[in-house]
């Protein structure tokens, strides 16, 4: 399964969150690039409180910081049972459209 991260067509730098221009070379030749989403789980946190009332029924959820091998850092959800640090893989969430979840990476 892949995820999509913006990549500069001029210098190859990945940019996340999506930029108006490349954060490295300022080119505006940017395109979404499908990658495997592998990286290192750097931090984990169980969120008990949300500013959005819609979220409150779905708490707690696990939040994570993942340092992707392509050089960007992503704050995303995490499946239960992970510990830091660990190799993980990001995938689109099955239950929540538009967000990613970190899963244990098969060795």
């Amino acid at each position: 399964m892949t995820i999509s991260i913006q990549r500069c067509q001029s210098c190859g730098t990945f940019n996340y969150p999506a930029h108006a221009v490349c954060g490295n070379c300022l080119s505006d030749a940017l395109a979404d690039c499908a990658i495997e989403g592998r990286g290192v789980l750097l931090a984990l946190s169980t969120v008990h409180h949300s500013l959005d009332p819609e979220w409150r029924a779905h708490l707690p959820v696990q939040l994570a910081t993942v340092d992707l091998d392509c050089g960007v850092q992503v704050i995303c959800f995490a499946e239960p049972g992970l510990q830091t640090p660990a190799r993980v893989c990001l995938a689109p969430s099955q239950d929540r459209p538009g967000v990613w979840i970190a899963r244990a990476q098969d060795a």
């Binding site: 750097l42 969120v47 704050i75």
Partner: protein, 390 residues
């Protein structure tokens, strides 16, 4: 790097605070106006003598400093708009000082103020930055607590820090707040048992690691030393000041920030080292950020702040006073005023005008700033060393 010019001849005067309130139906304009009126009264000058105005606010929209000139009936020849939260106080001071030094303004009023009600905080967080809208809010809308809980968990694991270590900071600040009538939590004692048993918010962050949003304002005036003397005002001079934005982007998660990049310049400009500092005001949105500042500003090595707070007494009477007003953890976070609080409290301490307890013989103080979490960390850092001239 070119060495910056000294801040010779510049005085910082009249630390002012507009009483904090948990919520308010008044506008940010009102809080900023009260700060200005209090500054004018404290200095004993006419409104017309203020020819520079720097302001900071998160809840003034759609207005900014230029609209305030009309609200306040002023015609300043220099204005600055610095809605940069935790780093706005140091930034305002640096800019105002240069304007006065260069003759672009005679007297600059630096004010920060915000109102607060149940809608303002969520509204602010939901519209804080384009990166946040895109990549943070979809992840459970946890606000700054989400991002800083991740930074805190990583810091604890990296350096063997416990919740009790953070608790030492929270307890010391609560004790300091007890002396400050403006501190919203000053009347409530906090024990380590209370701290550890508090309800969880996000990861290692529990209730007493998080600031309480509130309404209020802070301010000060910047003018020439000779003018401060002529007005008979207690004043401080600026020994050194630094500022940095988006430092160490290459760190995959924040363990340090811009202070580490610029602290040598700060102490070189000041002609001082850490041991000369009588009291420190850190930007205390979370205890982990206070620890990072103690490290990055050179008071201890990276990873050693927990040990540092175990070995030192951070209260007003202690051997290393930190956040002597109670900080934001004790006073509340009045929006951008939180970024002014460190500067205003340092000015109070070194000029002998505290709202609460006075650090004995405080002459030199360090005020730090940290602001604007647009994605996974705050971008702005700053610090200033003030010396009281009584």
């Amino acid at each position: 790097m070119t060495r910056p010019h000294a801040y010779d001849g510049v005085a910082v005067v009249c630390p002012t605070t507009v009483t904090y309130e948990k919520t308010s139906t008044r506008s940010a304009h009102w809080f900023l106006a009260r700060a200005l009126a209090q500054l004018i009264a404290a200095a004993g000058i006419a409104k017309e003598e203020i020819d520079g105005l720097a302001s900071a606010s998160f809840t003034l929209a759609p207005d900014s400093t230029i609209a305030l000139t009309e609200h306040f009936g002023m015609a300043p020849r220099w204005i600055e708009w610095l809605p940069f939260g935790g780093v706005s106080g140091v930034m305002a001071l640096r800019r105002a000082a240069r304007a006065v030094q260069m003759g672009d303004a005679n007297i600059v009023a630096c004010i920060a103020g915000d109102t607060a009600n149940p809608e303002t905080f969520a509204g602010l967080v939901n519209n804080f930055s384009s990166f946040s809208s895109q990549a943070i809010i979809p992840y459970a809308s946890a606000g700054p607590n989400g991002c800083f809980s991740l930074i805190t968990q990583h810091y604890m694991q990296s350096f063997g820090v416990t919740r009790e270590d953070f608790g030492r900071i929270a307890l010391a600040q609560r004790a300091n707040a007890a002396t400050n009538p403006n501190a919203l939590l000053g009347g409530k004692s906090l024990t380590m048992e209370d701290y550890l048993a508090a309800r969880p918010v996000a990861g290692p962050l529990h209730l007493f690691d998080c600031v309480m949003p509130c309404a209020g304002a802070e301010g000060f005036l910047v003018m020439e030393v000779r003018r401060a003397r002529a007005l008979g005002l207690p004043y401080a001079t600026i020994r050194g000041a630094i500022e940095r934005h988006n430092a160490y982007r290459e760190d995959p998660i924040a363990v340090r920030s811009g202070w580490a990049m610029d602290r040598d310049a700060l102490y070189a400009q000041s002609g001082l080292d850490c041991s000369a500092i009588d009291c420190v005001q850190t930007y205390d949105d979370y205890p982990v950020i206070t620890m990072m500042q103690l490290e990055d500003l050179g008071f201890c090595a990276k990873g050693e702040a927990a040990d540092f707070v175990r070995r030192h007494d951070l209260t007003i009477q202690g051997d290393f006073p930190v956040n002597t007003s109670g900080g934001q953890l004790g006073c509340g976070q009045a929006g951008c005023s939180g970024g002014f609080l460190t500067v205003v409290e340092t000015l109070r301490q070194v000029t002998g005008q505290p709202l609460g307890g006075q650090v004995r013989d405080a002459r030199i103080g360090l005020a730090s700033g940290y602001g604007m979490v647009t994605y996974d960390r705050c971008l702005g850092t700053g610090a200033v060393i003030l010396e009281g001239a009584r």
